[in-house]
């Protein structure tokens, strides 16, 4: 399990970006749920932790694609592929993650960068 931060340090409506490879976004929803998905939008390189959370959805800050925080599914285009979800564990007021071992759906540019292409 990867420790993220103390629950008290992540207010409702806020997100925390964990610098794993690829990075993970941990959201504390207005309803008090803590949910984790891949941070990188599957459409183009943008951090979903910078997006707007409404209910159980996050809107990508760049092109307004929407992803369901519980399932990772695309709720609004232009994104075509879902993000991975990660299991969240709360223990003694600390948020931990169990990372998915599924292959991530990274956007073409993030893949090019990871593969050594120029940014």
């Amino acid at each position: 399990m990867i420790p993220v931060c103390r629950l008290a340090d992540l207010p409702r409506g806020e997100a925390y970006r964990l610098e794993t490879d690829p990075p993970v976004a941990v959201f504390h929803t207005d309803d008090g749920e803590v949910l984790a998905i891949d941070d990188t939008c599957t459409h183009q390189d943008a951090s979903l932790a910078d997006g707007w959370v409404e209910g159980c959805e996050v809107e990508c800050p760049l092109h307004a694609s929407k992803f369901n925080l519980r399932t990772g599914a695309v709720d609004a285009p232009p994104a075509r592929l879902p993000v991975r979800t990660h299991q969240v564990v709360l223990e003694d007021g600390v948020i931990y993650l169990l990372l998915s071992d599924a292959p991530p759906n990274l956007p073409p540019c993030a893949v090019a960068r990871a593969g050594g292409g120029f940014a």
């Binding site: 092109h63 232009p78 075509r80 073409p108 540019c109 090019a112 120029f118």
Partner: protein, 392 residues
Amino acid sequence: MKAVAVVGASLAGLSAARSLRQLGYDGRLLIIGAEPHRPYDRPPLSKEFLAGDIDEAALTLEADGEDLGAEWLLGTAAVGLDRRERTIRLGDGRTVRTDGVVLATGAGARTLPECESLAGVHVLRTLEDARALREDLARGGRLVVIGGGFIGAEVAATAHGLGLEVTVVEAAPTPLAGPLGQTMGQVVCELHADHGVRLLCGVGVQGISGGRRVDEVLLADGRRLPADTVVVGVGARPCVEWLAGSGVALRDGVECDAYGATSVPGVVAVGDCAAWYDPTAGCHRRVEHWTGARERPAVAVTTLLHGGAAAPQLPKPPYFWSDQYGLRIQFAGHAAGAESVTVEEGAVADRSFLAVYRRAGRPVAVLALNQTRLFTRWRRRLATALPAACSS
């Protein structure tokens, strides 16, 4: 309504087709496209695609396995609309009959006469344009970009990244003063100098010369700029000539009410070709942004199917972004009519800031450079604020 034709197969057309199906329309759906391609994403054409970072498959807009149950008539433009017969005439001679029409023909790049006659002179709008320009940029050498707007600036930044020697020529004293205002237009155009790209402002282009291929750009003040490749980025015009005489009212695009209805019943318009009425500003505005092309079709299609009986939600303030030199520029709202602009976070000198435009003390627009998170909040806040008046 038994048949609906969507004229235009880009983002706005695709979004309209999706909205039709989402709203329960199950009749015949025709999608007519002048280009031979299925809908593709245009913003990367001046950035990641031009740089060679992504391929054509990555530009696809349809989801894997998505089936709209549509008949695609691609590679042939619509050339006429007959509202009495309810038919659309196509460039290849065919005629299609339809009950409802969504106009989504977009805009085309403005050109100079030399674009036709000289090799190495490009515009950038379509996938074919981008392929041809990418091939020429791979030759290296000197690139002259005519026009310092967003397309010109993005091409300049991409070409600089590819190692070309780049000069941008802008006729106005400040590039981007229209969309961003004088102050911030000046700030954003300084990004060129930051990266060693030459920017010449306040000077027009007299002509482009060469033999078979371009070799120089002649400026109005007599200067000559040697060039191996030239990009003309001088704006776009709505593709509405084919509607002349159809009865659809035109004014810098298709004139629409605040919900996308045109002057002809059963015909709505969306995307770059449409000038929607903005009730809070009291004028028509043609919004050439990607997000408008994605969001407005849902409103227009509701109008088409329900004849305006339902009260669709008004669209959000216009939003666009630009990526230049690895920096993310985001803008929402209307800069025209703003009385002040103040930096509220970060610093201009750091190339990381957020600036708010205000009129009568109310925020009317917001600009961010590498401040994505804060920008999202302001963009939402703007949706509830008073929009700016039209500049004209």
